[in-house]
Amino acid sequence: MTKVILVHASWCHVCPEAKKLWQSLKEVHDFDYDEIDFDTPEGEKLAEEYSIMSVPTTIIDGKVAFVGVPDKEKAVSMLS
């Protein structure tokens, strides 16, 4: 099953929009979904592992798929 991880931060103004997008897609598509706050040990570990210097960043199946709020159509295409 496709695994989607959204790395976000409390100080990021557009991160809630990325969350809304993935949460709405989760309602109609079947995929594993996690939201990880950058300011946590887990978030920092992911940031180091994937050289993340921007939020929101979406990791899909172990690869950085989107930097910024994803385009809905493109996000859907990554789930199929």
Binding site: A9, W11, C12, H13, V14, C15, P16, E17, A18, K20, L21, S51, I52, M53, S54, V55, P56, T57, V64, V67, G68, V69, D71, K72, E73
Partner: protein, 331 residues
Amino acid sequence: MGKWHLLVFLTRKKLFPCYLDEVFKVVYNLIIIGGGPGGLSAGIYAVRYGLNTLVLEKGFVSGQISTTGNVENYPGFPSIGGMELMDKFAEHAKAAGVVVEDKDVLKVRSEGDKKIVHTSEGDLEASSVIIATGAEPKHLGIPGEEEFRGKGVSYCATCDGPFFSGRNIIVVGGGESAITDALILSDVAASVCIVHRRDELRASKILQDRAFARSNIEVLWDTTLEEIVGDSVVREAVIRDINADEVRRVPIDGVFVYVGVEPNTGFVDVDKDEYGFIITNERMECSEKGIFAVGDCRDAILRQVITAASDGVIAAFEAYNYVSGLNRNEK
């Protein structure tokens, strides 16, 4: 039994056959494409004029202003976050009765007096259309820019600034956005170097004064960024001194780009300028009757929240006049 009673009956019985779609098709007085400050202002006024109005918003981020940290030039709000201001627009529009739907518009075309709006979920019809699709930050198009996006290259200081705490940053551009974000970045970064291709900034004087007063902001005049170099993240910038025609490499941790915007207007066939901005008159009318354009997607001299909102109000008024004219002709 009237057609609306029949519709309710069939819907309740789950007997709504697809061929009845045509019978019950709603023809909106006005469809507004885009839910930023221009689109929602138009929506609020259109609803108050009694127009049957629908706003279509593709993205989850409405309006470029959502990505701005602090807005200090919208009257009534001495200082307010961009997203917070946009939320207030949305709240106001909802309270006024503006209906917003999440649909991706693929094309807009005229068919006689009707406007057909093709969306990813089917066609919609309206008597008039307001284009309020805004614009996206323009990219430099230089080597390394796409490769290092999210790995040191950014277009949003409020989103990514904290990643550059104590680091050295380049800001490209000299306009309002560039200097606003240079100031935000200078609060966290060790140094901010503004690379600007001219010998003066276009930003407002108040922002220039603030920037010049910061000890960790430096401006490189008559300079362009040629290339961004790195490994897993940005390491160096290649910059050119235009006057001396000299190129040098500068160690750097991040590059923030503010070199203007590109309009989202590819889906509509009306007259545009060489950059794709829709050409309108002072009534926001386009080359096609019944289609109006507002905000950042039109050929405006200023692209601000307040000018987008003002455009929206004028366009709603003109759409009301246009639709009223159509209705009079039909009688």
